[in-house]
């Protein structure tokens, strides 16, 4: 998916702009984290007076716009931002994981490999924060190929501990706090994902590149 975006000549990507109520726009874009970064930059430069800029799986929401018409005109005139380079020079954030989750065997079966194969794959894949949601500090980490998508548990667990690393669809995620959850658990990380006294309060912000190395090997 990344390669397709990169190969597209600038300006060729189509963006659909959908109005959302009286003060918001939903932009359907190819690379939401890259658009998020670009739109955030425009806002910081005073060109885009949005209160909130919220990436989704295939969209970016601009909320709290005083003049959505003007904002729509502005974004339609923008060239698609350069995709974030997966092999870029800046190093990815490393969050070591103890791969001992109770759903590892089930994931291995779904992936057609053994538990070592799952750990190897997860520990070596560079992920990226596609978008956030669910609870403060929760990041949907993309980068796994679509064929490794796994369904959520048919019945969510009533309590998943903070730091649990799970998989659902083709996303990985880490639970910031203990909560009910339906993701398939593959391991644990010892990391503070959200601290309101920190700036930014979330460790994993949209576009951040992440690696989940095997703690047993580091």
């Amino acid at each position: 998916m990344m390669a397709v975006t990169q190969d597209k000549p600038r300006g060729a990507a189509t963006m659909r702009v959908r109005p959302v109520g009286a003060n918001a726009l939903l932009l359907e874009v190819d690379d939401p984290p890259a658009w998020f970064t670009e739109l955030w930059r425009l806002r910081a430069g005073g060109q885009l007076p949005a209160e909130d800029i919220v990436p989704g799986a295939r969209t970016v929401l601009l909320d709290g716009l005083p003049d959505p018409g003007a904002a729509a005109e502005l974004v339609r005139g923008l060239a698609p931002p350069a995709p974030t380079d997966p092999g870029g020079t800046a190093s990815a954030l490393e969050i070591p994981v103890a791969y001992d989750g109770e759903d590892l065997p089930a994931v291995a079966e779904l992936w057609g490999t053994d538990t070592r194969g799952v750990v190897e794959r997860l520990a070596t894949t560079e992920l990226r924060v596609a978008f956030c949601g669910f609870t403060p500090g929760w990041a949907y980490l993309s980068g796994l190929p679509p064929e490794l998508a796994v369904p959520r548990l048919p019945t969510p667990r009533s309590r998943v501990p903070a730091g649990a690393v799970g998989l659902a669809d083709a996303y990985a995620g880490i639970y910031p706090t203990a909560s009910p959850g339906g993701w398939r658990l593959v391991g644990r990380a010892d990391v503070s994902l959200f601290d309101p006294d920190r700036d930014p309060p979330a460790l994993l912000t949209p576009g951040t590149r992440v690696r989940l190395p095997d703690r047993a090997r580091t």
Partner: protein, 288 residues
């Protein structure tokens, strides 16, 4: 300081919320009936965004440990200071040691209690609001909780704007008419479903809370099957989950979601939903 004696069904500290963090999964929160909180703040000479208390149906009782000025707005409720009635929707003085009781609402759901100087608990990400979904901000009040008050501005209480004190956002005669704009995902629904949303009455469910006003009525059938990739949600979004029963997202709504949003409620009509009691008939009207 004030000390909570009786906390009621659900009483939380609320101001105008913490927008600007939705990209990190942080809900905006803030008073569900924001105009009512603003009226209460103005009555006691506070800035609009000062933090007050939002009660739910059964009010609150508290003891003031300092001399202060208080106003109650929103859901019309009997107010007493040391058992003596005082007017609703107007500022009144409270002596140190007095007990203030906001009784059960006669109409509406959420009453707002403002104090000169505001409730000055520590702000979290720029707001003192309780987010009932994530737990950010102070926890819901319990008996025995002590809340600090800020210093009031010297000229408090300011004069209320004309008509402010009496204005109310409660739905009249058990029916609320809510204006909506279709989109962004109205095309995921059949024309029949979109017509039904405008033509058939819905009933506000008892399962409604600060996250959303849940409605029951005609099931909204989809024209497009499958799952919608998660996308950002706005305040007032009318989301239609798998069961086809719409819900309107209120201040503590999740920041992203994977069910299609058929339309968005006009922000000016959200206080009507905040003050509508379970069982209230809700009708939608198209608005452009």
């Amino acid at each position: 300081m004030i000390e909570v004696v009786r906390s009621g069904l659900l009483t939380t500290v609320q101001d105008l919320g913490r927008p600007g963090y939705a990209h990190l999964g942080v809900a905006r929160s803030g008073a569900l009936d924001a105009p009512a909180l603003i009226r209460a703040n103005r009555l006691v000479g506070n800035p609009d965004g000062a933090a007050g208390l939002e009660t739910t149906l059964t009010g609150i009782t508290f003891r003031a440990d300092v001399r202060t000025t208080v106003a109650v707005t929103g859901a019309r409720s009997p107010v007493r200071v040391d058992s003596e009635p005082v007017p609703f929707g107007a500022a009144f003085g409270v002596a140190s040691g007095s007990v203030v009781e906001v009784g059960s609402a006669e109409s509406g759901v959420r009453a707002y209690v403002a104090f000169a100087g505001g409730v000055s608990v520590a702000p979290v990400l720029g707001s003192r609001s309780t987010d009932t979904l994530s737990g950010l901000g102070p926890p819901p009040l319990r008996p025995g909780f002590v809340l600090p008050l800020g210093r009031s501005s010297p000229d408090a209480p300011g004069p209320p704007a004309p008509g402010d004190a009496d204005s109310s956002t409660e739905p009249a005669a058990g029916e609320a008419v809510i204006r909506l704009r279709f989109g962004p995902r109205h095309d995921w629904f059949s024309v029949t479903a979109r017509d039904a949303l405008l033509e058939s009455p819905y009933t506000l469910s008892v399962k409604s809370n600060r996250v959303g006003a849940r409605l029951s009525g005609t099931t909204l059938s989809r024209a497009v099957g499958g799952e919608l990739p998660s996308e950002g949600l706005v305040l007032g979004a009318i989301q239609v989950p798998a069961d086809g029963q719409p819900l309107v997202f209120l201040a503590d709504h999740p920041t992203t979601g994977g069910y299609p949003v058929v339309g968005v409620v006009d922000a000016a009509d959200l206080p009507l939903l905040a003050q509508a009691r379970p069982g209230t008939t809700v009708r939608f009207a198209s608005w452009t």
